[in-house]
């Protein structure tokens, strides 16, 4: 009987091994087709890209772009597909992708060469760089003023890394989430908070007193946002990229940009000419 139990366990283990290695090679499009569900990784606190709005619904620029990808997938598979959203964080998003729990991480993930070892990225849908948010009238105007100052960062972010390596004079205080860091800044426990400029603009406009906050600096890092997916799945990647290219070409991208970053948008942030050209150059001919 004992022997039988052992063999049974072994059989289970082999089955599990076989099962997962089969799942491992299953292409994303096929997985979506058989399950009828397309799962994206989103955030609840990264306005205006991916967040929970005042009506308690998930919303944001990245989420809207993901909707476009969703439509493209439905068109490609000629089937009604359910769109599901799963909460992610900088530490969980890559494991969630590799374990098949999420098919596409849309939120605000910076495309880096190190991350390309683990995941593949779509074309760049937004560019920003790290700046500082300070209280109005603060002496901090940029990286030259941060020596000895208390600078808040988000744990595990790309800009924290740059600060730690290049600006060793600054006194870094890292928080697991943006809300805690901004609260510490509001209470004067930090002299500045460093993050991607666009997220700082988001914080500024989401705060109770937007004109009390100033975003300063000149991009100590370059942060191109891409949508992340499992590695070596070129068919799925093509669907995602084509959806983005068509949105840029057809103008929907710019409409969405205007909705979120236009003068009446959530975070007014005019598009630079350079960024516009960059977007258009990413679109390859039909």
């Amino acid at each position: 009987m004992k022997r039988f139990g052992f063999i049974f366990l072994l059989a289970l283990l082999v089955a599990a091994l076989a099962g997962t290695s089969f799942a491992q090679v299953q292409p994303t499009l096929e997985k979506i087709k058989t399950s009828g569900v397309f799962t994206i990784g989103v955030r609840n606190g990264s306005p205006p890209f991916s967040f929970i709005n005042k009506q308690n619904e998930r919303a944001g620029f990245s989420n809207d772009l993901a909707e476009l990808v969703h439509k493209a997938i439905e068109k490609k598979l000629e089937k009604q597909i359910k769109l599901e959203m799963k909460e992610t964080s900088p530490t969980t998003r890559i494991p969630l992708l590799t374990s098949m729990a999420v098919d596409l991480v849309t939120e605000t993930m910076t495309d880096t060469r190190a991350r390309r070892d683990s995941v593949d990225f779509s074309l760049t849908f937004f560019v920003t760089g790290a700046d500082f948010i300070v209280k109005k009238g603060s002496p901090i105007k940029g990286t030259k003023d941060i020596a000895g100052k208390r600078i808040g960062t988000q744990q595990g972010s790309t800009n924290e890394r740059v600060l730690r390596e290049k600006y060793t004079q600054a006194q870094l205080v890292s928080f697991p989430d943006q809300a805690a860091a901004f609260m510490a800044l509001q209470q004067g426990k930090l002299d500045a908070y460093c993050n991607d400029a666009i997220q700082l603009w988001g914080l500024k406009y989401k705060s109770a007193t937007p004109d009390q906050w100033v975003v300063v600096g000149d991009w100590i890092s370059y942060e191109p946002y891409g949508m992340a997916m499992r590695k070596n799945d070129s068919d799925f990647r093509a669907v995602v990229n084509n959806a983005l290219m068509e949105a840029i070409e057809g103008g929907e991208y710019f409409k969405l940009y205007d909705k979120w970053f236009g003068t009446k948008g959530e975070v007014p942030y005019p598009m630079s000419q350079a960024f516009k050209s960059f977007l258009l150059y990413q679109v390859v001919p039909k």
Binding site: T91, V173, F175
Partner: protein, 248 residues
């Protein structure tokens, strides 16, 4: 290899733990953890003895104060207390003091306050249990020999109680050491923080977190062996009936 069956191919690289700057981060993290734990432990023990003793004295208002302290602080999660002591309490201080703390590691001292007050309440319960395990006749004998209540407590009750509570107090001390990892949420760069930091920079999660786990394990085991030694060393012969206790 083993992780193959989780659907991931993971390559172990234990050498990240002793490459720079990761090693320095881990050591700094460990030192912060030890400093945080030892300072908090001393304050918690102090609060524990005071309030634990107060909960047993035959005078109702004193007992009420101590009961309030214990029930208020131990019945709210430590994480909430950390946020309270970091985001809430410092705002009530005068600006000069507040600024001084901000310039002198406010994250660390808020964590000390949260952990020591929370664990002080838990230590108080342990000490109360120790005191109440002592027969009432001890107190009466002390009083009738002419000692005051305070002197009876100081000379008779508390010395015996402290011996009785070594095992549960060890338990609490280990909890305290492990709970310091929560200080990460208010930006204290302690050991778990350092391990997470190594993880995000090197993408070697298993190695970084295993190293933190092993360090906690080593320190917890050392604490329990020291406490075992203390228990044996200060035992009052004949006071406590013991089974055949394994000698270490």
């Amino acid at each position: 290899m083993f992780f193959g069956f989780l659907g991931m191919t993971y390559e172990f690289k234990w050498s990240v733990l002793w490459t720079q700057p990761y090693l320095t981060w881990l050591i700094d993290g460990l030192l912060t953890t030890l400093r945080l734990a030892s300072i908090s432990w001393c304050i918690a023990i102090f609060f524990g003895i005071i309030f634990g003793a107060m909960r047993t004295v035959p005078f109702r208002p004193v007992r009420a104060i101590a009961t309030f302290y214990v029930e208020f602080f131990r019945n709210v999660p430590l994480l909430v207390w950390l946020f309270f002591w970091y985001f809430g309490a410092p705002e009530a201080f005068p600006e000069v003091i507040r600024q001084w703390f901000i310039r002198h590691g406010i994250e660390f001292w808020s964590a000390v306050a949260a952990i020591s007050v929370y664990h002080g309440a838990r230590f108080a319960e342990v000490i109360r249990a120790g005191i109440q395990a002592i027969p009432r006749t001890q107190l009466e004998a002390g009083l009738s020999s002419g000692l005051s209540v305070v002197a009876t407590y100081r000379l008779i009750i508390i010395p015996i109680a402290l011996r009785l509570i070594v095992p549960p107090a060890t338990n609490e001390s280990l909890n305290l050491l492990k709970n310091t990892s929560l200080a990460m949420t208010i930006g204290v760069a302690e050991l778990t923080f350092a391990a997470r930091q190594v993880e995000t920079y090197s993408a070697k999660a298993v190695e970084a977190l295993t190293s933190a786990a092993l360090i906690y394990l080593v320190f917890c085991l050392s604490i329990s062996s020291v406490m075992n030694w203390i228990e044996a060393k200060f035992a009052i012969p004949g006071l406590i009936a013991r089974g055949a206790r394994a000698e270490h």
